[in-house]
Amino acid sequence: MAPGLDESELAAYVEDALSRVASASGPAALGALRAELTGRRSTLAKWHRELGSLGPDERRTLGRLLNEAERAITEALGERDAERAREARAERLVADRLSLDELVDRAVDTPLARGHRHLVTKTRDELEDVFVAMGYQVVEGPEVETDWYNFEALNLPLGHPARGMHDTMYLDVGTSESVVLRTHTSPVQVRSMEAAVRDRSLPLHVVAPGRVYRRDTPDASHLVEFNQIEGLVVDEGITFADLAGTISAFTSAYFGDDISARLRPSYFPFTEPSAEFDITCTICRGARCRTCSQTGWMELGGCGVIDPAVFAAVGIDPARWSGFAFGFGIDRCAFMRHQIADLRALVDNDVRFLRQF
């Protein structure tokens, strides 16, 4: 045993040190105490140095005890520091107190500069207004959906290969892959139809704008979170001709009379026949340019006549009712109309961008 060091002495030392830490008042006293107890000249440090002269067994036992003692003292000091920080914060906050009910009326000048709506909101409002003028009700739906609303009720059963195109993000809630961030606004179709069946309020003429999510690497033309608008008509005698006419009427109303639309066959499990719709390239106005890959057309969205299986899933009689649906990107409309070079500018929130709209 080295001179001046044994287990009981160590225990007594630690007990004394801890009580001094507990009773120290003020930052200065605490700082001095920290130096005295844990600094290079502290008793503990001295004992540490003396360990070297002990036999291996003793060294191991005492070394462990010394480390424990050091940890206990450091923790106690740390707790006092945290306590002090809490007290200081509490003091600051009390000094800062303000009763918000007594604000003097008209004491704050409102600035003369007007703010700005976000470009996507502006675009969304404009699109909504076009569809309202065409007789549509604007409705909304949730962003978190069950697998049923996002896929299955839309004729996309589990294991359906078309699900692979959706790059779905799942939430860690309940059964694995049963809760999703909606990959399209189409679940609102299902919800609208269910509500109309429940309330016996068919026909249905709605558009549903909102945020959707795809697990895609963001780049100049893709965002993980983006906005779509979905249209749905369920009425008597609705055919593909009505869909084509609607797409074309909307295109001219929103983009201008010199922009037209064309439909190409495509595939969506919830519509049959299905189509992609292109509009005249808004950059070259159809003259063929780099942006439209020399085709004169830009792809805007998808559409189709509602598949009777979707009607069956929500309980609408396909013998009486028929309908069509369409959907496209709101951000993409803004992108085309304002020739935005990089879609990521939309989420960057740089005021130099925001102030332009």
Binding site: E128, M134, V173, S176, A309, N349, D350
Partner: protein, 829 residues
């Protein structure tokens, strides 16, 4: 899918113009995503032999190479080192234009003239190798020969066509040709293979037994046994077609299998018969825990449930005579029976596997293969024998000695009968809105393999077995109508703009949201859009990780949460602007925040689960309006002013700011915050005040000028709820024409008395004479006891029908003082 025009043209005559062809394909729903011109830039490039290699003085990376075709020697400077005297290499003489547009000219380097260029594989567009020159095999090339001839590269165009999920029939060269032939109304040359006749016909002559144990997952299994197979290279033309399609030639057996898949859409798989234990094949569900080493060398454990919704955990295995798995049906073969150079006997599998099962297996094992993507969409089971015969026919070209042992073994499981339905002109018109002649409908459908019979004005239509997407009646009418529309051309169909009597309109919440946005823009705020999927930092900032909704498969591993507040996003947006020296701004956002179902007081419950048969607890969604005021003079006061502006714009009549009882909401300054409450209904609209200074300091380390950040956060749902939040009456009041008089009163009250209470008492006491009550000063300190404050109030009085007399004013003043001192224990100061 990559399709070479030269290949496509062997089934159907193509139009002269590439533009026209591409437009037609697009119009058929076979979207051309890319057009690649191959074999360009080879004109003029010839084979030369290296005669001499000389060093160039002062240059250590380039050498002077003398080459010769059939004529005179030519000197070329070259930077490659992978050849020697006598090597045969490609040479682009002066004047050649390579495929990347580079025009070869005479150049002088280090004083030496270079009369052309010796080329690498990449420069010629025949490979990726750019390490050195493309050194040619002496047996296959002679000096002076055009390089295009040596490489077997003709000019061609490769179209990359996107095939939609409902068109498995089009996922092959023949399928694309079939659609084109239907559209152009021309003959389509279907592949009819003519393989060598089998030897030893009859039962028992085939030494392989096939058993389908699980007929629901394997509808058909055709096995063809070949002996005396010589594993060798494929014919050049065949290898070239594979290359153009984006596949690497391997050997004639594997290549023939791949070729058949590209041509007919039927994946096949070849097993080495000598490595097939027991010379038997059993197709059965895998047993959980069975292992299989795949062709790609990886080892997988079969039939292990992933736990995902609807995953049955089932795998279909191909097993050998010892019942040991040797392949994952429809996805990938195993390594144990792989075809190798020593293979002489082959069993060819051409099968039909149940699509959803293949899809699940491929997804669970993360093995999307050329075969699995085709089986997932549904192959044509009727194609199995044709594919087998075509394989044999192709393989016999490079292995002429092969013999087919007996007739193919054909075992059936459960197969879906192709859809069959009756369709008339009315039904088609009901979908497309146009009356088409039944003759035209019948012609179009027949051209793509539908069986059509006219029965007195009604067509009896049977879909081909390769069109599993076509359903029976009644749904199938839409499927048939789509095929008719597609082949007829969407652009040729009529259009009509529908109309209906009901007017359009905005949902109430949309109207309120627009009003909120207008009001905030009106006070100078900019609207931001921040991400709903947020990094871990965001949760750490607010310290609510445990209650957050977590993503299972986030795009970025460090951004796994859904936001629980708009505050961190807006703070981040202000910080980024501040870093660009433009941080003096007010930002707002209207967006959804999420809470874990276990954290929400009442969880959202919706229909979900497999088949929609369960009720599923979902994270709750709460749309918030949040405003962050970060201009130099902003603080809780401007937040209150901003809220008042918003409340006025929305005509909210009865809201007041109450101290927050209990825990301070996350992120708020504990002593500078208040709850926004509707005084009549008690509904809480949100909170306002300042951002907690410690959080502000952490979120915006650069912005340490001691500025305060004002904050307003209200629920859109409550704002839009007209029952929870009362609006000003629509009844307009006409102001009095008589003068108004102000009465100023200062009261000392206990801190606990709300200013709104005092206002209400004064308003009541003044009765109908009261036009407005306003607090114009608040004072604490000398003369006011601790725990109390002095509030200076201005009451504006006015009567509708007269000028108020001094007496009236005096009595109203007394009434107000009595009321305040009586009911609120106030003292007049």
């Amino acid at each position: 899918m990559r399709v070479a025009l030269s290949w496509l043209a062997s089934y159907v005559p193509l139009p002269e113009s590439l533009d026209e062809l591409v437009a037609t394909l697009d119009d058929l729903g076979l979207v051309v995503e890319d057009i690649e011109h191959v074999g360009l830039g080879l004109d003029g490039v010839v084979v030369v032999q290296v005669e001499r290699i000389d060093a160039i003085e002062g240059a250590d990376r380039i050498r002077l190479v003398t080459v010769r075709d059939r004529g005179a020697p030519v000197e070329v400077v070259c930077g490659a080192w992978n050849f020697e005297v006598g090597s045969l290499v490609p040479f682009a003489p002066v004047g050649t234009v390579l495929r990347d547009g580079t025009a070869i000219s005479r150049r002088t380097m280090r004083g030496v003239v270079s009369n052309g260029m010796l080329c690498s594989g990449r420069e010629l567009g025949v490979g990726d190798d750019h390490e050195g020159l493309l050194v040619l095999d002496e047996s296959a090339a002679t000096p002076g020969q055009p390089i295009a001839e040596v490489l077997g590269v003709d000019r061609d165009v490769v179209l990359d066509i996107a095939i939609e999920g409902n068109r498995p029939d089009a996922w092959c060269v023949e399928g694309v040709a079939r659609d084109l032939a239907a559209r152009y109304d021309v003959a389509f040359h279907r592949t009819e293979p003519d393989p060598p006749a089998p030897i030893g016909e009859g039962a028992g002559s085939v030494p392989v037994a096939v058993e389908i144990v699980d007929p629901d997952l394997c509808g058909r299994f055709v096995a063809t046994v070949l002996i005396d197979v010589d594993v060798a290279e494929s014919p050049r033309w065949l290898a070239r077609r594979l290359e153009l399609a984006g596949m690497r030639p391997i050997n004639n057996v594997v290549d023939a299998s791949n070729y058949v898949m590209l041509e007919l859409g039927q994946p096949t798989h070849a097993y080495d018969l000598d490595r097939l234990a027991g010379h038997a094949i059993r197709v059965r569900r895998a047993v959980t825990g069975e292992e299989l080493e795949l062709l790609d060398g990886s080892s997988i454990e079969l039939a292990v449930d992933s736990g995902a919704i609807g995953d049955t955990g089932e795998d279909l295995a191909i097993c050998d005579g010892d019942d040991v798995p040797i392949g994952l049906a429809g996805v990938m073969g195993g390594s144990s029976s792989e075809i190798g150079p020593a293979t002489t006997s082959v069993v060819l599998e051409a099968a039909w596997f149940e699509p959803i099962g293949v899809a699940r297996t491929a997804k669970r094992h993360r093995l999307r293969t050329e075969a699995s993507v085709r089986f997932e969409r549904g192959c044509d089971y009727a194609n199995c024998d044709r594919a087998s015969a075509r394989f044999v026919e192709l393989l016999a070209m490079s292995s002429p000695g092969l013999r087919v042992l007996g007739a193919p073994i054909d075992v059936r499981g459960e197969l879906r009968r192709p859809a069959s339905l009756r369709v008339d002109a009315d039904a088609i018109e009901g979908v497309l809105g146009v009356r088409l002649g039944l003759d035209e409908v019948a012609r179009l459908l027949s051209a793509i393999g539908f069986d059509v019979a006219d029965r007195d004005g009604t067509l009896e239509v049977t879909a081909p077995s390769g069109r599993p997407d076509v359903r029976d009646a009644p749904f199938g009418v839409a499927d048939v109508a789509e095929e008719v529309a597609r082949l007829h051309g969407y652009a040729a169909l009529p259009t009509r703009v529908p109309s209906w009597p009901a007017p359009g309109g905005l949902a109430p919440v949309v109207r309120v949201r627009r009003a909120v946005r207008e009001a905030l823009v009106g006070i100078g705020a900019l609207e931001a859009w921040t991400a709903a999927i947020v990094p871990a930092d965001d949760a750490q900032l607010l310290g609510d990780e445990d209650e957050r909704v977590r993503l299972t498969n986030p795009v970025a591993a460090d951004a796994p949460f859904l936001r629980s507040s708009l505050m961190p996003g807006l703070l981040g947006a202000v910080r980024r602007n501040a870093e660009r020296r433009q941080g003096d701004l007010a930002l707002f956002e209207i967006g959804v925040v999420f809470a874990h179902p276990s954290a929400a007081p009442t969880a959202r419950v919706e229909r979900g689960g497999a088949g929609g048969g369960e009720l599923v607890k979902l994270p709750s969604e709460d749309e918030r309006v949040s405003l962050l005021l970060a201009r130099p003079l902003d603080d809780a006061r401007t937040a209150v002013a901003a809220w008042r502006a918003l409340a006025t714009a929305l005509r909210l009549s009865h809201t007041r700011l109450d101290p927050i009882a209990g825990t301070t909401p996350l992120g708020l300054h504990p002593t500078r915050c208040a709850a926004i409450v509707d005084a009549s209904t008690g509904a809480v609209l949100g909170t306002l005040g300042e951002v907690d200074p410690d959080i502000a300091a952490r979120a915006m380390p650069g912005l340490d000028d001691g500025r305060r950040l004002g904050w307003v956060d209200v629920s859109m749902g409550v704002l839009a709820d007209h029952d929870a939040v009362l609006r000003e009456s629509d009844v307009a009041s006409v102001p009095s024409r008589y003068p108004t008089s102000d009465v100023d009163l200062a009261f000392v009250l206990d801190e606990s008395v709300h200013v709104e209470e005092l206002k209400a008492v004064l308003r009541d006491a003044a009765g109908e004479l009261c036009e407005s009550v306003e607090c114009f000063d608040a004072y604490r300190g000398h003369g006011v006891p601790p725990g109390s404050r002095s509030l200076a109030m201005r009451v504006r009085l006015c009567a509708l029908d007269r000028t108020l007399s001094e007496e009236a004013l005096a009595s109203t003043r007394v009434a107000m003082i009595d009321a305040a001192t009586g009911s609120l224990s106030a003292t007049l100061r």
